[in-house]
């Protein structure tokens, strides 16, 4: 047992750290530190820098542009990225549809889509959830009817993150209405410019518009956009969601936010002294730091296990990462609220789409707290994670 990084791993971390320090645009970094949103251009600019370095799709197989890093190296890279902070590569393309395509797609699909994902020529979004299908995803109703060489898609997706920027959407659609729940679903790629698609923004409680409804009204898609086999889409979705869970602890994000809390709490005064000197506050902060340290090690245990036994099946302990990781992220936004106190109140009704350069640093603290309630809901709610532990770990 040795919980420290090896010499090579430390050297790798330094290399990553130096690259990020020199290459993340300072305004991108500052906006993220303040919990603000980035514009589409800012995100794409940064991802292209990353891709040029060869780190845009780091965990993909080498033949498709991956790095061949070890599990620990991936962990280090993600954590360093989060601590800058800098945006992680667009998950919908790089972590979700990309791996599905190179694992289950045909040669033509690999050749066409993968390079475009890596270079961010295509912005992808995820068409899974529907108004009636959240945690019970397999009950989804959006249907794709086969007509000659095409599918005709009708239905509605929702909670579609950043669909307003997207060029493509990957959808779970019902292709066999007669089959039982999971077995009649297919995984289909749809060009967002296709006739019959309408995107309607959903404003969330923080005032932001990250998510959307996407309506499909007789949307005609070539059959060649089917990934893998017809009616096997549920298997690919499970594969994809397994990938989503391991990245969800976001230890680096919470670490960075804890540093910011310390920094702000040393500046904001209460009763003639910095909030940071208040013992009750310090203890609350320390309690979160301890939970985070434990989570970091739990995550490393999962990572080390992955390195030994291969990725294959996601480790059920990754459900621990989702539950604790989301709770800690939420706790950090609560602490920020506590630091700023009554000055959390003013609401900027123009919202924050990344264009308001003059925004005050206090303006995004309450919205960030409100916004972070989502992290225990998305990616399989924390209650669904408990169901997974119950079945896969405890055998109940």
């Amino acid at each position: 047992m040795d919980l420290s990084f090896s010499k090579e791993e430390v050297a790798f971390r330094d290399e990553v750290r130096t690259f990020l320090r020199d290459n993340v645009p300072p305004s991108t970094r500052q906006k993220l530190q303040e919990g603000r949103h980035l514009s589409k251009d800012e995100m794409v600019e940064w991802w292209r820098i990353l891709n040029k370095k060869g780190w845009g799709v780091s965990h993909w197989p080498k033949e498709y542009g991956g790095t061949g890093w070890s599990s620990v190296q991936h962990y280090i890279f993600n954590e360093e990225l989060q601590m800058v902070p800098a945006p992680a590569p667009l998950a919908f393309g790089v972590s979700m549809v990309g791996p599905v395509i190179y694992t289950f797609g045909n040669e033509a699909q690999k050749k066409h889509y993968l390079p475009r994902i890596a270079s961010v020529e295509d912005w992808w979004c995820q068409g899974f959830s529907e108004p009636g299908s959240g945690s019970d995803l397999a009950s989804l109703k959006t249907k794709a009817e086969r007509k000659g060489d095409t599918y005709v898609i009708n239905g509605q997706k929702t909670w579609t993150t950043l669909a307003q920027y997207a060029d493509w959407i990957f959808c779970l659609c019902r292709t066999d209405p007669g089959a039982k729940k999971q077995s009649g679903i297919s995984f289909i790629l749809v060009d967002m410019k296709t006739k019959g698609i309408t995107v309607r923004p959903i404003q969330t409680i923080d005032g932001g518009v990250e998510v959307n409804e996407v309506f499909f009204d007789d949307v005609v898609v070539p059959v060649s956009n089917l990934v893998g086999e017809e009616n096997k889409g549920w298997d690919y979705a499970k594969f994809l969601l397994g990938n989503e869970r391991t990245g969800i602890a976001r230890v680096g994000v919470s670490k960075e936010r804890l540093r910011r809390i310390r920094d702000l709490a040393s500046k904001v005064e209460s009763g003639g002294k910095p909030v940071m000197e208040d013992q009750a506050f310090r203890e609350k902060l320390a309690a979160v730091e301890i939970e985070l340290k434990a989570l970091e090690l739990t995550q490393l245990r999962v990572v080390a296990d992955e390195g030994k036994h291969g990725k294959g099946k996601p480790n059920p302990a990754s459900s621990v990462l989702k539950i604790k990781g989301s709770e800690i992220q939420q706790a950090t936004t609560e602490l920020l609220m506590e630091v700023i106190g009554p000055f959390a109140a003013p609401f900027d009704e123009h919202g924050d789409d990344g264009s308001n350069e003059a925004m005050d640093w206090t303006a995004q603290i309450a919205p960030s707290y409100f916004n972070n309630r989502k992290v225990s809901i998305y990616g399989g709610s924390n209650e669904i994670q408990r169901n997974i532990i119950t079945k896969a770990v405890l055998g109940l």
């Binding site: 047992m1 320390a286 309690a287 730091e289 939970e291 434990a294 989570l295 604790k324 209650e383 169901n387």
Partner: protein, 380 residues
């Protein structure tokens, strides 16, 4: 970065689990508890035979030169089996003082007796008003020529009644709460002027309140610097805290296992109660609490060897906080999910709960260690 046990460590784990599996069923434990002193000499003898009592000592001292991970393995196993024998006070604490601060003569005299199982030890540290502050020492050790005369009272000394030797913290100078002036003394359990009042503890162990009245020991009884022993005491008590974290992980692991087993077998409304989602999610939360605790017990085990005393203390304190929170949740919910049967002395789950509960208040509770983490500047 490697969380796996080495081949030797794996074998150690197998052999301890094997030994306890064959000799430490819950009914065996009841018999051992009824023996003199509250634990079994024959089990202790088996520990000696298997080399468990010599693990942390250097090969020069007759031990196996094993490290912190080996102690973690043993303590976790002892927790799982709810072991009564005085491994913590003898091997971890007294062994720690001797290894880290003992003179060559002290090592030669006492370490072989620990390794072969012929002597057990107790750590007489807690005082009426000291609570968790290791430097709060009213017991005095006054110089008399080359000798020291010890006067004072110590409380809840684990294994205090049957220990052959006591390790006593006493003040050689300064006032009660001064960091300077605390020494560590080896005192035979049957020395003149030592009076013990033994009793069982809530978790089935045995402890004693011990008074020292004009107890005279020689200069060779001092471990380390008699006027500056606090750093050594803090270091060894950190060893003990790390060991307790591992023991608690073993206890929690077994509590969860036993609770899940109960959920699968107990039937109400015609079905196993484990089919109810409310209970499933509670058990899932127990698993989360256990895994977080396991991670921090590993962290503490590694931190025990940090050279920087402040960094080590903060890390160990952080681990004790996590363990304290987790053990409370896992312990309490184990009883809740067992329902009425969990309330009975007859079922073993209550005994796990009681041992876990006592661990929280040993060498600093959750609030105390949380404060230490803030004083250490946090973890990030």
């Amino acid at each position: 970065m490697d969380f796996d046990l080495s081949e030797e460590q794996r074998l150690l784990k197998e052999s301890v689990d094997g030994l306890l599996g064959s000799s430490y069923e819950f009914d065996d434990r009841k018999k051992y508890m009824a023996e003199k002193g509250g634990w079994s000499k024959s089990v202790w003898g088996k520990f000696a035979e298997q080399g468990l009592l010599g693990l942390p000592f250097s090969e020069d001292d007759g031990g196996f030169g094993a490290g912190a991970v080996e102690t973690m393995i043993v303590m976790e196993a002892l927790g799982k089996a709810l072991v009564l024998e005085p491994y913590l006070p003898t091997v971890v604490i007294a062994g720690g003082f001797l290894r880290r601060g003992g003179s060559a003569a002290q090592k030669a005299e006492y370490i072989p007796a620990i390794i072969d199982g012929s002597k057990t030890f107790a750590f007489a540290q807690l005082e009426k008003n000291s609570r968790y502050d290791l430097g709060d020492v009213a017991t005095s050790a006054k110089k008399k020529g080359e000798a020291y005369v010890i006067d004072g009272e110590k409380f809840v000394v684990l294994n205090g009644e049957s220990a052959d030797m006591l390790i006593v913290t006493a003040r050689t100078k300064g006032s009660q709460r001064d960091a300077d002036g605390v020494g560590v003394f080896l005192v035979p359990g049957n020395a003149k002027g030592v009076a013990k009042k033994g009793y069982p503890t809530q978790d089935g162990l045995h402890a004693a309140d011990i008074s020292f009245t004009g107890v005279e020991v020689g200069a060779d009884a001092v471990i380390g610097d008699p006027e500056n022993g606090l750093a050594l005491i803090e270091r060894v008590v950190d060893d003990a805290r790390i060991a307790l974290c591992a023991e608690a992980v073993g206890l929690m692991d077994e509590s969860l296992k036993s609770t899940v087993e109960y959920l699968k077998t107990r039937k109400q409304f015609g079905v196993a109660i484990g089919s109810f989602q409310t209970l499933q999610h509670r058990a899932a939360d127990m698993f989360v609490a256990l895994e977080q605790a396991r991670s921090m017990a590993m962290f503490a085990t590694m931190a025990g060897d940090f050279d920087d005393a402040k960094e080590r203390a903060t890390a160990v304190a952080a681990a004790k906080v996590q363990i304290g929170k987790s053990l409370k949740f896992v312990g309490q919910q184990s009883i809740q999910l067992h329902g009425g049967i969990g309330m009975t002395m007859e079922a073993k789950i209550g005994h796990y709960f009681k041992r876990l509960t006592m661990i929280e208040n040993t060498f600093g509770d959750t609030d105390y260690h949380l404060r230490r983490v803030t004083q250490g500047g946090g973890l990030v």
